[in-house]
Structure formats: C-alpha cells, structure tokens
Symmetry: C2
Subunit: 742 residues, 2 copies
C-alpha cells in the first residue's frame, strides 16, 4: 500500500515539466568531469585506471573498427566484437569528456553510424532460437539491452560533439529499432519483474535521457503502459527484499546491480526529486552491502543457485556500483578493502573520491568486514531467507551459509535447507553452482550446459535432504516459485565472531516434499577451549509415511580416515541412481555401518582437517560418490560426496562438523589430525524437544532445543536420563556442565 | 682414477694430528656467533628468524618435555614428539650460544639425559618391520640418523656448558648405542651409496666432531672399514653427477642436500684442508643450483620420481643449504629471489649475510633466474640426463622437462623419455609424483602408499610411450637400474628464452622394451609472430615385431573441444586395463577417429587454452581416462588423461602442443580460444630423416631432423614432395619458408 502511495507521488513529480536537458548527464555531469580532471595528476589509482582505459581505446584510434553481421555465441568473434564495441564506444566517450580530444568523440560517432546502418536491417539473431528471449545484435535480447545501456551512456558523452542531424541519424537508426523491438515485439519480456527487465528498462531509460526522449524515460520507469505495474521502479520494489536481498542470489545480484546503479545514477542527475537511491530506505545501498557480505575471502560470490564460481568483487559491475555508492551515499570506509582488491576505480566522482582516500590514508590490509548476517527474501521480506553464521577474523573466518529462501526465479536451485561451509579462503562443503563456462564458445556458446538442469539444480547436488531420490517440488520451477521455507528462530550475533558462545538458526520446510516436514537447526559453537568453531547440525524429517532420506555432504578435499569399513568399486562402477541428478553420480564406495553408534569421516583440505561425525541407526547406509556419470561432453567437475542414507517416517540426522588441526606438507608438520568427538547420542527427539549429547574432548556437550511454541522467555525444565536441565528461551548449549554464553 | 688419487691425498691429511678441538664447531664457530650477535639489532629478517626460533623454544622452557617410548608412525604423537625434540635441542643450543642464557643449555642437557637413559634400552621400533631399514627411536633408521645429525649439532652447541662427566654420560648413553647400531647391526645400510647413507654418515661424522671422536669421523668419511668404498665422500662421488645432478631427482636432492651441506660445513671448520665444498669442481654448489633450477614458479620441485608435490624451496633443507652456500661460496645475488621467498634465514653467518643483503639492497620481485638447462646423470655423467627446455620470462615462463636419465635408485619411476610441461605457475602436462601423504599418520603413517608401486611408478602414469601395456623393464627395478636412455642431440640455448628460434632435444632408449627402439625429439619453437612457444613432439618407435603403443597426455585442465566424436561411458565404467597401472584408470570415453588425418583436443587450465594436435593413422584410437579404479582407500587424485593408441612395428607419434589464448571468467574475456594448427603431415620418416609439415596459421611449418650419423657440420640436401631443402647440421625448422634462427 505504501508503495502505491509513493508511486503516485513520484508520478506527480515526473509529470512536472523538466528544464531543457544539459549533457553529459547519464554517467557523469560536467562537474564530475571537472573533478576528474583536477584529481588525475595527484591520484595514482585514478590515473592508472584512466591510463588503462586510454590505452585500451588508443589502440583502436585510426583503425576501422569492425561492426560484423550478428552471428555466433559467447566467446566467438562476432559476439565478442560487438561486446567490445559497446565498451569501446562508452570508454571513448569518457575520454572525450576528460581530454576534450575530438578523436575520441569521432571514434564513438563512427561506430554509431555503422550501427545506425546495421541495426535497421536486423531480424532476429541466427542463434536466437531457444533462448529466453531472442536478440538482434546478440543471440539474446538481454545482451542487446547491455549494448543499449552502454551506448546510451556513450551517446550522452559525445552529445555536444554531434550535430542535431547526426543525433537524429543515430537515435533513429541505432536506438529506435531496438527500443521498439523491446517495447513492442518483446513487450511481455520488457514487462517482467526479473533481472532481464532491470537491464531492458535501464537501457530504454538511459537512451531516453541521453536522447532527450521523455517518453522512453517514462516507459522505462513505469512500464510500457506507464501504470507502474512493470518498469524499473516496479522491479526495484518487486525484486529486492526490504533489506536488499536479491532473490536470485549473490551471483545475479552482481549482474543486476549494474543497471540498478547505472539508471539510478542517471536519474539522480536527470530528476533528483525521484530519489531512487533513497527508495525503500536506501534499498540499493543495502543490495550492494549484501552482495559484498555474500562473498568468500577471495571475494568470490557464494555459489548457490546458478553461479559461476570465478566471479568476484573485482568484476566491472561491482567496481561501478561501489564507486557510484561512494559518491551517492558518502564516504564509507568499510568499502575500502574491496576497492583495494579491485585495484581500479571508475572515471567518476566516486572513483576520484576512493582513489583520493586510498592515496591519502593508510588502509590496512584487512578483509572486508564480514559479519554474521541474515537476509530476508521476498519483496515484503516474508519469504524465508539466508543466514550466514560466522566465526573468527581475518584469515580464520569460518562462514556457514544456510539457505531457506524462496526459489529465486529461473536461476534458482531445488536446494531447500541447504548449507555451505567456507574455512578461511577455502570452500569445504560446496555448492556446485551452475554447469557453465561463461563466455566460452566451445562450451555451448557460454550458455548454461544441460547438466545445470539435470545435475546442479537438482536437490542431490546440494547439502540437504533428498526424499525418495526426488528433487524438491519434483523439480518443477513453477511450483517451487510459489513456495519458500520459513525461519523458526535465529540468533546471529555480531559479537560472536570473536567470543565464545552460540549462533543458531533453525528453519523448516513443509512444501518441498508433500507430506514431509523438514526442520534443520544449525549451531555454530565457539567453545572457550578451542580456536575453531564446532558445527552441530540437527536435521529432522517428519512424515506419516515411510521414506528414504539421503543427506549428502559435498566436500572439497581428500579422504583421510573413516571409523567404518567401506568397499570401493574396483574394476567397474555404476551410477548411484537413475534420475533427478543421481544419474550423474558414480557410486565409488559403500559402507555397511551396522553396529557403529556413530560414523566418522575425516578429510583434508589444504592445511586443515575436517571430520563429520554422524549419528547412525540400523537403517543407515553410507556412500561415497563422485560426479561424472552420464556426462557425454565431460562437462562436470569430478567432485566427491559422502551421502548418508536413512529410512523411516520420522528420522533425524545429527552431524557434528569439526574443523581441526594443521598440516604443512612442506614443513612436514601435522597437528591435531584426529577428531575430538567420541560419541553422539540423541537423548530425546519429539514435538517438544530435541536433546543431543555429544562427547567432545571427553566432556559432555549438551544441545537442547524446543521444537514448537517458540518463546524467548519460556522457562523450560526438562528431565533426560535422570538429569534435569532448566533454561530460558528456545535452546541451550552446555559444555562440561556450563552453559555457553551467547 | 683421479678420484682415487684425491682420496689418497685426503687420507694423508686427515691422518695428520688435529689440534685439540674448539667448540662450537659443527654448525657455527664462535666467530659466527659473534657476527650473529652483532647483526641481530640491524637485520630485520635475521631478527625475525631469531625471534621465531626463540618463541618456539621459550614455550618449552620450564616444562618437562616428554621423551616417550618409541611407537607409531609419521604424524602420530610419539613420532612427532621425537622429531620435535631433536629440533628443540638443536634450536635451544643455538640460543644458548647467541644469548649466553643457561636455561637454553639446560633444556638441551635435560633432554639429552632423558635420551641417554632411554636409548640404551631400545630394541628395534615396534613398527619397523617391513621398512627399508629398521630404526629404534623411529620406525626407520633414516629418521634415527636425522635425530643424530641434529642432536650432534646440539651437543656441540652446549659442549662448553657440560662437564666432562656429563659429556660422557650423553656420548655413551645417547650416541654410542645408535652409532654402534648403525655401523655394526646396520653395516650394509651404513655402507650404501644412497641418500640414506648421506644421512647416516653425516650423523656419525657430526657426532664424531661434536664428541671429539675421531674414529667416528673417519668411519663417516671413508666407511666402516675406512677404505673409501663407502662413507660420505664416496657418496658425494657416487651419487652426484659431475654437474651436480642427483640421480633420485630434485625432490630427493632437497632431502639429500641437508646432510651433504651440514657435514661439509662441519668439516670445513674441523678440517678445512679436506675442501669438501670444492670437491669435484664445487659439485655441492652445483647440486644446490640444480635443485633450484628444477622447480616451478611456485618454487615446488619438479614432481618426477617419488616426489610429493607440495615440497618447495621454502622448506628447511633449502634454507640451510642456501645460507651455508652464501657463506662458503660467497655472495651470489641469483639466490636472493629464493631467499626472499623463504622469508627466513638460519642463525648463521650465511643467514646474517643474506639478511644484511636483503635489508640494504632493494631486491626486485623477480623470480629465480630460470634458464634452459641440461643435467647429465650418473657419477661420470654418462647415464643420460634431464633437459629443461624453456621460453619466456617471469610469469610467462614455459618449461618443458624431458627425462632420459638413469632409473634413480629406489625412488625412480619407469618413465623413460617422459615429458612434463609447466606454463607460468601452472602444471599442464603432469607427472603424478608419489602416491603419499607425507607425515600423515592416517595415510599409512605417511609412508609411500601401495598405489605408488601399482600406479604412479608405472609407465602408463607418465607422458611417454607404453609398449603392449607393460611398463619399462617390466617394472623391475634391478633391471632398470642397470640401464639408462641416451641423449642424441640437443640445443638448449640460454639466449632462446626471449628470442625467436629453436630449442631441440633428442634422446633414445633401446633397453626399456626389448626389441623396441624409442626415439623422442622435442622442439620448442619461438615463432616471431607468437608470444608463446609451440611444442613439436616427434616420438618414433622402431621394432621388427607388431606392438601396441600407447602415448598418454596426463593433463591438468577441463576439456573444451575435440575435432572428433567421442563416446563417454554413461551408466557404467570399467578399467582401461588389468595391470601395470592400467587397472587404476577408468576408461571415461573412447573415440573412433577413422577418417581424421589429425585429431585435436583442447583444454583450459585457469586462464589459458591448450591444444594437442595429433597425427593419426588407421590404427589409431583415442581414449579419455581418469585415475581412480582399484583404489580401495580412495588414495589417488582423480586426474584425467588423453591416451593415443597406435598399432604397428615402426610407428610415429607426431604431436603439436599449443599454448594459446586467454580466458578471464571474471571479466568475461575470451581470446584466441581455438587452435592455429590446420594439418600435420609426416612427409618422410626413415632411418635417415624425419620430415614433418605442420600447417600453422595457414603457413607451412617444416621440421626436418636427421635420425642417424649426427654431425653438426653435415650438409643435408633432401627432396620431399618435389621440394628441396638444404641445411647444415642435424635439424632445421622453416616457418613460412624462412629458417628459424636458433
């Protein structure tokens, strides 16, 4: 309701007459360029960034830059040339504004004229069939939108260099056919609430501002029919949660943030009264913060959903967003560790500001200030979310990601209640991400490979329970998109990161599997006697019917030791199953663990040992699998997993994940290579309470949680095995008889 | 002959009476300690190294350090405690000498007394059965020798602190039983020519010098019977080639260099007339240089033979050797990039010198000065060798290792004519090294795993031809040890590294397979039009009988593209063979390539593409394999290979290995992702000449080599397909009609 009211106010503003447009205005204003010119001599990083851009443009000056007939996919010549061209046109326009040298404007203009000739002749791209939405310059319309965003900025940059006739030739030849294509032929696509629509609306809007075409701007802001049901603002309101979480996850936040920030930045100059950066309590600022918080110590975005693992905060999109944020929201020194990693700034006021700051202030070599953090999903913030439990500082940061969010649109995975674990710079319990080699033509033109659909989206490729070898929602996106998991309770404490105590997050899902409730509660414990956190993972499944429950741990590392005997496939191996991703796993080994109250599995990743201790029962069997079956083009990484299989109606997986010891092969030093867990007992597990007793370092570690009627002030008194435990609230953890302070 | 004469001269020297011994003398002299004390305040690196050692010792001061009953393997508590103790005793003795504080001498003395009690009670170690040679404190005698080396140095360091009675208690209790065990019980082992004997003789010798026991020193130098047939000097003469190559390869050079340098250093103080450092034209200096040259850009030793890949030049052994070399051989600035990587120095004159140098001089961030280099194997330098063809500088260094050496004692592999390729920091065509987790108790006590014998030593695990699925010499070490391959010709040119031209090495082997001659000629070509070298690999097999020839390329990377159709195993996979290492390979896919004149296979490693283009014939089949079958304890890394199989009597593998393009997933940049090889023709291949025509960038690249009667001055005129080629010497390479300048 509030949004609708706001929208009416904004409509009022933008219908007010706007004063005849100054250019440049979309990316930088004249004042920005003045500041850049003044800053360049004294700011090494700005100068270096400028020089790099200048060198990249200068090598094309005087050359006849090719504008080929559209054809081929990512990584191929034509695709890469067109991509190169829009960046070249944009960069050259920046150099024109900074240096005043006409050769830069001329380069951009010449390319525009070529495109103004080419574009009106284009039909759909020859490789566009089967894509989400066909493009003309590129095989998908999304990339045409990328082209328009950058060339819109470029046009604005050389506006003053062009005669009115030249402007008309370009606007009519290069822009109009594309914009009509978007808003007429592709109207449903243009009207989506989706990252594609952020790009398409930003494209139309930026071109509108650049070419003084208010009708374009209005369509961009409020949708084709200007009713506010679609368009850029509806996307801001519909795609982002109130605390800035973007439903597709961090990899696509990175992608969406560029049109979000580019168009907001242009609008800030064009119509500051719109206050896009302040919309929904600065939700754009929160989106950037959240993207940064959802990275590992290498700056790589967490790889859940359709992520490509190499993508990190030094990418162009985040450099732009960071520098715009610095300018718009003011000095924020917490961004400097990221800026330092980026080793470049944009040619903007924000870029000059950051460069100046890094130059004058000694910035420590700290990492970004990662903290325990939680995001709600959904436009209203009521569609589950993501928690990141964290402990330790600097190189010792441990991050446990717990996902109980909504599906995440077309790039979402069937991964309800999934976890991932990072220790320092290393991924320990992994999410496969997407099966995709972005921008590599040989690998299906850089598109998502079929194994994304058949393996990496499927539930079995994640670290969460699979019921009866089927994926959540039977792998049906339209169903999954309607549901989300729910948070039960959480205590994510920023103080925790360096103190002893308990972080806890509990969530449940009733929809992913009809008739099965799943509830997973994760504890990250900082014990006073240990310098690495201990993770306790209680995963209960509740059903009236008999099921098979599989819980995989996809680990990165080398098996060191098990406390059970396993039988590995020697001369032949077969798949672990037939469908829903199982067909992509080789069954490397299986174990018969009857008689073991707990199983233990240790592996080594670089310098640290990890042990997963698991409570077993007579229904339990264990498997070691490896990705790679049914992979005709050898696309998949050959990664291993331990899969715990249990049978039953109500079942319970209790796993303790230890990070322990130290290994240095070079110095031949090995410390604490063995687990400290001696036993796990499930003392009680019912609708009211779960009570787990872990024998850790030969001391009892008791975890008690309420399972219903949550109440932070409830007084609990519970008797288990002749002992009485009293605690306030929803859970307690006792180590060696003492309550762990939160 | 010369050596025998020298030995007589030395015997004369050492039988001359030696002046009453000064202590300390084994590791440092009093003058060295004076220099260290003077240097400490002004040398940050020396100070930091000192502080680290001091901190590691100080945490034990006042504690009752455990000397447990020997038991268990590497990585286990008892093993690690004894290892920790000898380092602690040594370090504490250094601190005593530097600081004069008696607590340090006292710590060492107290431990000595415990050992003097324990050692006389010891029988063979409980886990010693089945080892090469049983130990007492440790499971193998080799580690007892490690203990003696360090405690010998430690004893010398606190000599002046001990009363004569105390010295006797230690000498009789801690040293004598061990030395008698070595020289009596283990006499054959003590008399080996082997890295073990370097350790055992250095141990006896250093203890001899430390305890004023000349008889020990003489046994150490000249063998139990003092006849010079065994002992330290015989090992220097028998293990190292004239140019300092150590026959076990660089990983074990690293291990052997510590007793080599430690004892030589002690002897330099004790009896400088022996001139051990100058023996055989400074062969010890050459050994260090060669160990450093046989590393990749990460400083890791090349992994041929039984290497553990993590071991690199920052390890303790190389720090000691480097710092001793700096002191003995004088300032050598080429060592500074290594010293900088090590980030520490020893507490010695050499360490102080390097620290001073690094402090006062701005040392550039260059890598070690890697160059094209060649080592001869064998004590006389007549047992084949190793060539490292190199091109490019800094991060762009490309290194191709070609191995045509002798077997390499008990750690040698059956890898005649093997190659490995590194590009920049990355391993591209890989050698598995050893299947071993050094120092990890869970993995068979850190010992070599059975898969070293059954897989990684076998010929199929290397990048060289396997005949009829059998390993070289049928995998018989005693036979392999008798033979070596031979160099035919080589042109390894230091100028080449940055210029256009040709490096070439050709070698052959007649012994590895009865009745089959193998000749492999490798060309590294720097073409004027390309910034990465091109590798041409001509592997001829000659036999009177029909054979199956397999040539694997064990690559590290992800398959990108092939020009042939392959069929991957979908639901089941089986081993590639039954024995000789084949049983450890899964057959992932096979191809039928009939009709392809050449096959092409591209893969991606990090940021670079690699393509192997292969000449095929109708007998050729191709396989993609992956390591991991018959691996009951999941010990092996799951690495892939492309295996080219041909049938015939005389056969020829012509492969062109291209390094090309650039990939940046983060920036989404892809350049030159495709091969430039269009065709390969074998125009002639007989006893006289091989002529290969490669269509590269649509230009002919002609490689012509003589196959017999090598003569650098021969004038060759050869007509092929109506064209006449004339050249002087043994080979020529023409690109686009022009001879590539060497």
């Amino acid at each position: 309701m509030r949004h609708i009211l706001l929208r009416i106010v904004f409509l009022f503003f933008i219908t007010a007459p706007i004063i005849a447009q100054q250019h440049p205005i979309t990316y930088n204003t004249s004042q920005d360029y003045e500041l850049i010119r003044k800053s360049l001599p004294n700011n090494p990083l700005l100068k270096e960034s400028f020089d790099n851009i200048k060198n990249s443009v200068d090598e094309w000056i005087g050359k006849d830059v090719d504008v080929p007939i559209p054809e081929g996919l990512e990584g191929g010549y034509n695709y890469e040339r067109h991509k190169g061209n829009y960046r070249l046109m944009f960069n050259s326009s920046l150099l024109y504004q900074i240096t005043g040298e006409s050769k830069y404007a001329e380069l951009t203009k010449t390319l525009f004229f070529k495109y103004a000739k080419l574009i009106p002749t284009l039909k759909n791209h020859p490789q566009s069939s089967g894509t989400v939405c066909p493009g003309r310059i590129f095989y998908q319309a999304l990339n045409d939108a990328n082209w328009l965003v950058f060339t819109g900025l470029a046009f604005d940059g050389i506006y003053s260099y062009l005669t009115p006739q030249e402007r008309k030739i370009i606007a009519d030849g290069a822009f109009k056919p594309e914009i009509e294509f978007f808003t007429n032929d592709l109207e449903p696509w243009f009207s989506w609430i989706h990252n594609h629509a952020l790009w398409s609306t930003a494209a139309v809007g930026i071109v509108g501002i650049a070419t003084d075409n208010k009708a374009y701007v209005d369509m961009a802001l409020y949708g084709k029919h200007k009713d506010g049901k679609s368009g850029y603002l509806a996307n801001i309101d519909g795609l982002l949660s109130p605390d800035g979480y973007y439903t597709e996850g961090p990899y696509y936040t990175r992608y969406a943030i560029l049109p979000l920030y580019f168009f907001a930045n242009a609008l800030q100059h064009y119509n500051p009264a719109l206050k896009v950066f302040n919309r929904r309590n600065n939700v754009l600022q929160k989106t950037l913060t959240n993207a940064l918080q959802q990275t590992n110590l290498r700056g790589e975005f967490y790889s859940f959903n359709d992520a490509v693992k190499e993508k990190n905060v030094t990418c162009y999109e985040i450099v732009e967003a960071l520098d715009i944020a610095w300018n718009v929201f003011g000095v924020d020194t917490s961004l400097l560790p990221i800026a330092r990693m980026q080793k470049r700034v944009t040619l903007s006021s924000g870029g000059a500001g950051i460069s100046d700051f890094l130059n004058k202030r000694k910035v420590s070599n700290d990492y970004y200030a990662y903290k325990p953090i939680e995001f709600k999903d959904g436009a209203k913030g009521d569609e589950g979310g993501i928690s990141v439990l964290r402990s330790g500082k600097g190189d010792s940061l441990v991050s446990l990601i717990y996902k109980y969010s909504a599906h995440g649109l077309s790039h979402g995975h069937y991964d309800k209640l999934n976890i991932n674990l990072y220790d320092g710079k290393n991924e320990i319990l992994t999410d496969y991400g997407a099966a995709r080699f972005v921008n590599i033509e040989q690998k299906l033109g850089g598109k998502y490979l079929p194994e994304t659909e058949s393996y990496s989206k499927q539930t079995i490729s994640h670290n969460t329970v699979v019921v009866d070898e089927k994926s959540n929602f039977n792998g049906k996106e339209e169903v999954s998109q309607k549901h989300h998991s729910n948070l039960l309770l959480s205590n994510i404490n920023n103080e925790f990161i360096s103190k002893s105590g308990v972080e806890v997050v509990s969530a449940f899902d009733d929809n992913a599997y009809g008739g099965v409730r799943m509830q997973r509660t994760l504890y990250m414990l900082n014990l006073p006697t240990h310098n690495k956190p201990l993770i306790v993972d209680v995963f209960n499944t509740l059903s009236n019917n008999q099921h098979q429950y599989d819980l995989p741990f996809h680990y990165i590392g080398t098996l060191m030791k098990t406390n059970f005997k396993y039988y590995s496939q020697l001369n032949n191996q077969a798949t672990f199953g037939n469908a829903n991703g199982y067909q992509h796993l080789w069954k490397e080994a299986e174990a018969n663990i009857i008689g073991h109250p707990i199983t233990q599995f240790s592996f080594l990743n670089e310098n640290t040992f990890y042990t997963i201790s698991s409570l077993t029962d007579d229904s339990t069997s264990l498997f070691f699998t490896r990705i790679g079956a049914n992979d005709p083009n050898l696309n998949l990484r050959r990664e291993p997993a331990l899969i715990i299989r249990k049978q039953g109606r109500n079942q319970s997986f209790v796993n303790v994940v230890e990070l322990h010891g130290k290994y240095d092969a070079n110095a031949e030093i090995t410390l604490d290579a063995y687990s400290s867990v001696k036993n796990i007992e499930l003392l009680q597990n019912d609708a009211r309470y779960t009570v787990v007793n872990i024998l850790y370092d030969n001391k009892p570690l008791i975890v008690i949680q309420r399972n219903s009627n949550f109440d932070n002030y409830a007084i609990n008194t519970i008797e288990v095995k002749g002992k009485t435990y009293s605690f306030k609230g929803n859970y307690t953890v006792l180590f060696d008889g003492k309550i762990l302070v939160e």
